[in-house]
């Protein structure tokens, strides 16, 4: 496989974009990324678009071709991919593979979702399509409920308490305050979090990521192209050391351990092996904190925090910007927002800025960064390891 570099990134703010069509939101991010990369449109060989629910919420299903048409790309293959909340990460991996395999020298990955225009009922019905509705759906389970189940298991085994989990919320909300793209940064007290609306015990409102609109895009290039354009770029290139995708069980019955997602563990192991690094080498990670307890579970699954210690590390500040491992310096899904199909590429955007040393919440001397995107009840996972050149 060939070396692959990130030449340009673009992103809209995450939040409400009720006056913009979903394809125009994606176009905004793609154009930013293209301009930053300095490559010409007619050089692009493929476009992959991550999206989950544009059909039910927008009545639109040909987004990849729509976006390419709006910006005048040549008649290249344009493909929409779907993997629930991991749709963006999967789109990135496909674009990476297109360049790494030699199929093309330049590929675009873009992720987009618009949700805030829809009613809560429409949104929850659409999101529940990511559940195994034969096995888990009939019980009346919801996605917050899935993580309520996981929290109880984690609490029983490791003693993870409300205070531990609230430490994750407080950190990510605080990080989000300084991120210009974040939807819901805040300074929250433990008491404010504990007093928020019960959703599904022990999950409260502040444990949940918001509903969001947003788009993010990345231009990936081969080493050959990177050499050609590097003199024109206003920023250093970022190298993709590993881009991995794994499958886990689509339902709870298939998870042997309710405090871990198999797809996380296998994706991380494969990514570390491909990148030839170990978890201790990672300076920062943007991981899938769709619910606060998810950050604790994910950080352990990725090997960044010892098993069972996720909550303890959060409360001790070891996952803060200046901690042992900076987790979600962007604010994560909890504060930045979660426009489902855009999230995985939004994470790549954030880590790329970190590795260029351009981030508003800069992790000092960041050189190796990771992203982690998880879909459904753990059915799809992507992990990416990126290396900066600063």
């Amino acid at each position: 496989m060939r070396e692959v570099y990130i030449a340009g990134v673009g992103s809209t703010p995450f939040g409400k974009h009720s006056d913009t069509s979903i394809e125009n939101l994606a176009v905004t991010a793609v154009v930013q990324a293209l301009l930053e990369s300095t490559v010409e449109r007619d050089e692009v060989g493929a476009l992959y678009l991550g999206n989950f629910i544009s059909g039910p919420l927008n009545g639109k299903e040909i987004l990849a071709g729509l976006v390419a048409d709006r910006i005048g790309l040549p008649p290249i293959p344009c493909t929409k991919v779907e993997g629930a909340c991991a749709s963006g990460g999967i789109a990135f991996r496909h674009a990476y593979l297109a360049v790494a395999s030699g199929q093309t020298d330049i590929a675009i990955a873009v992720g987009v979702e618009t949700m805030t225009h829809a009613s809560t009922k429409q949104t929850t019905v659409a999101l529940n399509c990511a559940m195994d509705n034969e096995n888990d759906g009939p019980s009346g389970l919801t996605f917050p409920g899935l993580f309520g189940l996981a929290w109880r298991s984690h609490e029983a085994r490791y003693g993870t308490s409300r205070s531990h989990v609230s430490a994750v919320v407080r950190k990510n909300k605080k990080n989000g305050l300084k991120n210009p793209l974040a939807q819901m940064g805040a300074i929250l007290s433990e008491q404010e979090i504990a007093a928020s609306l019960p959703i599904c015990d022990p999950i409260l409102l502040f444990d949940c990521c918001p509903t969001s609109d947003g788009a993010a895009a990345v231009v990936l290039v081969s080493k050959e192209v990177s050499k050609r354009i590097s003199q024109h770029l206003k920023h250093p290139l970022v190298e993709v050391l590993a881009s991995v995708q794994t499958r886990g069980s689509p339902n709870i019955g298939g998870h042997q351990d309710l405090v871990s997602f198999n797809a996380n563990v296998t994706a991380a192991a494969q990514a570390y092996e491909k990148a030839r690094v170990n978890p201790q080498n990672i300076d920062l990670v943007e991981l899938h904190d769709c619910f606060s307890i998810a950050e604790i579970i994910d950080s352990e699954d990725l090997g960044l925090v010892p098993r069972g210690q996720g909550g303890y590390w959060a409360i001790e500040g070891r996952t803060a910007l200046d901690g042992d491992i900076a987790i979600n310096p962007s604010g994560g899904l909890l504060a930045k927002g979660h426009p489902v199909g855009a999230t995985g590429i939004g994470q790549i955007y954030e880590v790329t800025l970190q590795l260029r040393h351009q981030h508003s919440n800069q992790v000092q001397q960041a050189r190796l960064g990771m992203t982690h995107n998880l879909g459904g009840a753990g059915v799809a996972c992507t992990v990416t390891i990126l290396r900066g050149n600063m």
Partner: protein, 104 residues
């Protein structure tokens, strides 16, 4: 409780499947297994999915049946409160969901 079992390798499934994922055998038979199991975790849903027929709050439970299958179900409204690792018994099936009760 009714489950589905592969005639070739005996792999068990909580819901009907067209093929055994373990050995790809196409022949699966309905099998009755014991209704008893152990509650491994639970959550109280306070906001039900849109269109769901049961009014919140209700408890969703994950149960390891004695036969070895792990299933997702709901706790009966009249059950005593859930607790980790409690013995439970399926007492009904409602719209595809097993309904469990915590044993004293």
């Amino acid at each position: 409780m009714l489950i589905y079992q592969c005639e070739k390798c005996q792999q068990q499934y909580a819901k009907v499947v067209s093929v055994c994922a373990k050995c790809l055998c196409l022949k699966l038979k309905e099998t009755e297994v014991a209704d008893d199991g152990k509650l491994v975790t639970w959550t109280t849903i306070r906001r039900a999915p849109a269109g769901f027929s049961v009014t919140a709050p209700y408890d969703v439970v994950v149960v390891d049946l004695i036969c070895g299958l792990r299933v997702t179900g709901r706790l009966a409204q009249e059950s005593i409160p859930p607790r980790m690792y409690a013995r439970v018994k399926r007492i009904a099936t409602e719209e595809g969901s097993p309904i469990f009760s915590v044993m004293t």
